[in-house]
């Protein structure tokens, strides 16, 4: 975008994030603008895919929803409550409805604990006080994620990466949350196992009426699981659309670059001698003025250096923040706020 704007927000969303800013101080008094004024929302039962390259702020966005860390400014309204305004104690209570699944399944589980205890931990804090009830719940959860409850007394090292990710999912689900933030949950897994976990998440989503934020760098994975995809670049949102639309008719030059870079399992794909250079992300401590993508963009002109593009609608439910999008912008759609759900 990269740009700002909130034209793509809808009414009655389960989660609404508005003008979110996350900054990290780095050495020399400089500041990294990890997330810079982004807005998005998620309807109940929807999966929002956040996609982009490393350093684009997608993981930071996911974590900022959970107030890990607290964003520097902006609203995070979950189920009618602005999480940024809660006291630590109130936030602790609210957070039971929001859970997270991390990238590295093995390091996100305590190696010294039995998996039954790992999964039961949230219940010990918030669940029923009866131990027997807790145990039954844990066993049901392990069963639901495709693990044999008989293995509940084993420790994480006795499981494969895919199984550890199932354990993480069971732990996230045990309090029956409304929203789960999945931060690259399959990128550390082998492709054959990755498909198992993606299918599992789709099943659990229906079974437990979950809403998901799915953060990933793999475009095909994001398309497979998402109902809506937001493409991020250097702390900004470039484009928001339904994946079936976005992948066929990308409107942002960056989305097009990402799609063109994905490896295609087709032997007749020719070697591209043009695309051997460039492609370095500018420093997030000193992002380009105007549109942050302009330094890599073929369409960039003077306007892009001065004026930050705002998100505008190019088709129903398809929003782009670009002065020179790859599709024509109908005036009637671009200027009005349209509720899409």
């Amino acid at each position: 975008m990269a740009g700002t704007g909130d034209i793509h927000l809808r009414d009655n969303a389960l989660l609404r994030v508005k003008d979110l800013n996350v900054r990290f101080p780095v050495s020399g008094g400089r500041v990294v603008q990890a997330v810079s004024g982004i807005s998005f929302d998620i309807m109940k039962g929807e999966t929002l895919g956040l996609v982009g390259e490393s350093g684009c702020g997608k993981s930071t966005t996911g974590r900022a929803i959970l107030q890990l860390p607290k964003p520097n400014s902006g609203e995070v309204v979950f189920d009618g409550v602005d999480l940024t305004e809660l006291s630590p104690n109130e936030l602790r209570r609210q957070r039971t409805a929001l859970q997270m699944i991390f990238q590295d399944p093995i390091s996100s589980l305590n190696p010294r604990r039995r998996i039954a205890d790992v999964v039961a931990e949230p219940l010990r804090v918030w669940g029923p006080s009866d131990r027997r009830e807790q145990q039954l719940k844990v066993e049901a959860m392990l069963e639901a994620v495709g693990l044999d409850p008989a293995a509940k007394n084993r420790r994480p090292h006795e499981f494969s990466g895919g199984q550890c990710q199932r354990i993480s999912i069971a732990r996230a689900l045990v309090l029956e949350p409304k929203l789960i933030i999945c931060d690259e949950p399959v990128s550390a897994l082998d492709v054959s196992v990755q498909a198992q976990i993606l299918n599992l998440l789709e099943d659990l989503k229906v079974q437990y009426e979950l809403t998901l934020v799915f953060v990933a760098h793999d475009l095909a994975v994001v398309k497979n699981i998402s109902d809506r995809v937001a493409v991020m670049y250097l702390g900004k949102i470039c484009e928001v659309a339904d994946p079936d639309e976005l992948y066929v008719r990308p409107a942002h030059p960056y989305t097009e670059l990402l799609l063109g870079s994905s490896p295609v399992p087709d032997p007749n794909h020719p070697l591209d001698r043009e695309m051997v250079a460039g492609g370095e992300l500018p420093s997030p401590t000193n992002p380009p003025s105007g549109c942050r993508y302009r330094t890599r963009c073929e369409r960039a002109d003077e306007q892009c250096a001065v004026l930050e593009p705002q998100l505008r609608q190019v088709r129903e439910g398809h929003f782009v923040a670009c002065h020179h999008p790859l599709v024509d912008v109908p005036v009637s759609l671009g200027e009005t706020r349209v509720a899409v759900g």
């Binding site: 498909a195 793999d218 497979n224 994905s262 087709d266 001698r273 250079a277 492609g279 370095e280």
Partner: protein
């Protein structure tokens, strides 16, 4: 870069024998739990100027294979048998002292993680010129000029300044470019690229793969590209070997492999990948279970516990890697597309075998 290197490649390419011939190569590691048969009985021939893709999941032996050929498995518990003949020279029994003369000069490697393969306290320039001075006897000035040209050839902007940088001053993509420049410095005839882009972002991955392909073609270099991603090998290799549990289970010229998959594992691997052309929420044909334990591999075919076509014979007798005569070889009793395999599959589907149900999902996806 330099003319002298181009000459080396051209002279040796005049010879007719294949650049690399691997026969019955096996590597095992002796561990406390038992012996891990990481690579078992792998054979292949690599002609000059060709690229072989080695594809497999983690633990399939693809990395150990390339390290075994290069003799980089130096830990005391590793044991390699068989033969790997590089341009007429046997590598497996070569004294380590002589291997040193080949590394970097004739055979080079690009590793997965550019940060750990560069020395963090040595300037990038010196890491490139090291080989030039040692192997080719360049003077400091010659080596520097060549080094800068190399950085330019891997598309590092402002190579004169970058030559004096430390690795931490480079981004991830630039580090991998520098690693490629180091590997290419002496104009090696054989380059192993072991997951060269796995640690990189998708746009950078695309550029690095194109860059490797460009240098490979321009220098008539022979390359082994090791990856877990079938998408990466598809457009960039002449031949593909698919590995599972330490063995090559299917090998064919790339276009033939993608059009006529015979080995159920290759088919399952390809159909389990989410495709960018599929619509959202497409049900994926996952492979049930997980790769086998290489200390106690299953009897018979190693893929049999996860296979949709599995029959009793598969569980008892390991299928040999058989060549069909057109360069396509595979190790399977019930190859995909044959009548026998269709009967086996129908039988398994009726019995409710998880792997067959998964393939059914994939077929319905293709049909719809």
């Amino acid at each position: 870069m330099t003319d002298s290197n181009t000459t080396i490649s051209q002279v040796s390419s005049a010879s007719d024998r294949p650049l690399l011939e691997v026969r019955g190569l096996s590597t095992s590691f002796h561990t406390e739990r038992g012996t891990v048969a990481a690579v078992s009985d792998v054979s292949f021939t690599l002609e000059r100027g060709k690229t072989l893709g080695v594809v497999g999941e983690s633990g399939s032996g693809k990395t150990v294979l390339s390290r075994s050929i290069m003799r980089l498995n130096t830990s005391g518990n590793a044991e390699t048998t068989g033969s790997a003949v590089f341009d007429g020279e046997e590598l497996i029994t070569k004294p380590m002292k002589e291997m040193k003369n080949l590394w970097g000069r004739d055979i080079a490697m690009v590793f997965q993680d550019p940060m750990t393969s560069l020395n963090p306290v040595v300037k990038v320039g010196r890491q490139i010129t090291e080989h030039l001075r040692h192997h080719l006897g360049f003077s400091a000035a010659e080596a520097k000029a060549t080094g800068i040209e190399l950085l330019r050839s891997v598309r590092i902007p402002e190579p004169e300044e970058r030559f004096n940088n430390y690795p931490y001053q480079f981004s991830g993509g630039m580090r991998q470019r520098a690693c490629i420049a180091i590997a290419l410095a002496c104009g090696p005839r054989l380059l192993f690229a072991d997951e060269p882009t796995t640690a990189l972002d998708v746009t950078v991955q695309h550029q690095i793969l194109n860059l490797l392909g460009m240098h490979q073609k321009d220098r008539f270099m022979t390359m082994v590209l090791v990856t877990h991603d079938l998408g990466v090998v598809a457009g960039r290799t002449d031949e593909v070997a698919v590995m599972y549990a330490g063995r090559v289970v299917e090998k064919a010229p790339t276009s033939l492999l993608f059009s006529e998959i015979k080995m159920p594992y290759t088919q399952a691997l390809l159909s389990s990948i989410p495709k960018i052309v599929d619509t959202k929420h497409t049900r994926l044909a996952a492979i049930p279970g997980r790769p086998p334990d290489l200390i106690n591999p299953p009897s018979g075919c190693a893929f049999s516990p996860r296979c949709a076509y599995v029959q009793d014979r598969c569980r008892e007798e390991r299928p040999p890697l058989a060549d069909m005569g057109n360069g396509h070889s595979f190790a399977c009793w019930f190859p995909v597309g044959s009548d026998e395999s269709e009967r086996a599959y129908a039988h398994n589907l009726a019995a409710g075998l998880a792997s067959a149900v998964m393939v059914d999902v994939g077929r319905k996806r293709v049909a719809s």
